[in-house]
Amino acid sequence: MQELINRLKELIADGTVVRAIGWKKGDMPYNPEPAYFEKPEDFDDFVYDGFCGANLSKMMIEASKLEGKTAVCLKPCDTYSFNQLIREHRVVRENAYIIGVACRGKLDIEKARKEGIKGIKSVTGIDIEGDGEVVFDTIYGEKKMAYSDLMLDRCHVCKGKDHVIFDEVIGESKDTDDADRFEEVRKIEKMTPEERFAFFKSELSKCIRCNACRNVCPACSCRKCVFDGTKFDSQQKANVDSFEEKMFHIIRAFHVAGRCTDCGECSRVCPEGIPLHLFNRKFIKDIDDFYGEFQAGKDPEAQSPLTDFTFDDLEPKDAVGRGE
């Protein structure tokens, strides 16, 4: 972390960049916040540890409008999002200095809460360089968890430790994937329609339409979401009926289909713990199955599957009922 701080300070000092986007220490040991850093003293609060899960690539939309270059700390998976934003002309590559930061999987405080850990005073073992157990010092005593048990689900199906776009990389990332990315999707596909419907109904009926998933999503970069606009008479703000959540989440997933890099931010931020990535991953799996493997954000030149076609594409009637 110190190396990263030094390098950022250096970049600002030598005028390469005007500011940096990174993470600032939180008021709790587990809630660092994305922040801008400009002056040397700003870096006193800089932090980069296991809880720095936020994908900062979307902040570059606003930052690349500012005067001068911005250094941005991107984890390997965040670089896919950044590439995708370049493809959609939403960020200006020239205005960004990308520091690829190392990652050994990001942590999810909800995992600790599920284990009954509460009253947390401090946490150790979350440094980016370290390995070993995470130790919680709480009002109710000391609690321990294995690092990987505390990891976000998305890190267990990590796309890889390599940054796909960067100006420089600081630190060494670790492979964290130990699960099949499409396993959950397959599990659902194998259910009966009734079970599938019941599953999604119970998950989606928790939705409070706070729009966190949308606003955090780097692919949802619309200036004004279609659900905030008047073009379809689809302005919705609340779950009057569970249909609205279905419609919102289906359309949201559809609009990012072929563009979603599977960064997992939607599921991470959902206050109700809805596994929203299951929608996106379904589309990714279908796209892979129907049109050949495609990883959004890997290649900023690649045509998105939904703006492309071949003459003998799968017919919609063959896209359904495959499990039967």
Binding site: P193, E194, F197, D241, M247, F254, F283, L306, F311, D313
Partner: protein
């Protein structure tokens, strides 16, 4: 609703999006050839199957449609060259998603139907109506506020 009506057989509400150049003309041909299909089918004319935004389909289901069918020119015959190719991909993904969420997959369909295929149009609509009828009322995607 009177007792009498309640006993009536279930009649599905089906929205058909037809592209202006092939399928709508095909529907017209079905009409001029007097090839009947159930009155449950209501056609909305769109310039091209590529014009059909998934929002429209979900909207129809929200508002109480029991089935939605999209008809376009045969692949390769799109009046605008490529619209139906994009539609084909969009609908393949959308329908697969709906199925994934537990929506009966017989409620959605894409059929390519040319201006010369009045008979096919009528046959398709008859089949689709039968299918949707067998699935019964769309309860999984409807909005409660739109029900009586």
């Amino acid at each position: 609703m009177s007792m009498n009506e309640e006993k009536k057989e279930f009649r599905p509400l089906i929205v058909a999006f037809c592209c202006n150049w092939c399928s709508y003309a095909g529907a017209d041909l079905a009409g001029s050839s007097r090839l009947s299909y159930p009155a449950d089918v209501k056609i909305i004319r769109v310039p091209c199957s590529g014009r059909v935004n998934p929002m429209f389909i979900l909207r129809a289901f929200e508002r109480g449609a029991d089935g939605v069918i999209i008809c376009g020119c045969h692949p390769g015959d799109c009046h605008y060259s490529t619209g139906n190719y994009y539609a084909r991909r969009r609908m393949a993904l959308l329908f697969s998603m709906l199925e994934y969420m537990g929506i009966e997959n017989g409620r959605t369909r894409v059929e390519w139907c040319s201006a010369a295929e009045g008979a096919k149009f009528s046959k398709t609509m008859n089949e689709f109506c039968e299918k949707v009828k067998s699935l019964g009322e769309n309860v999984r995607l409807g909005d409660l506020r739109c029900k009586n």
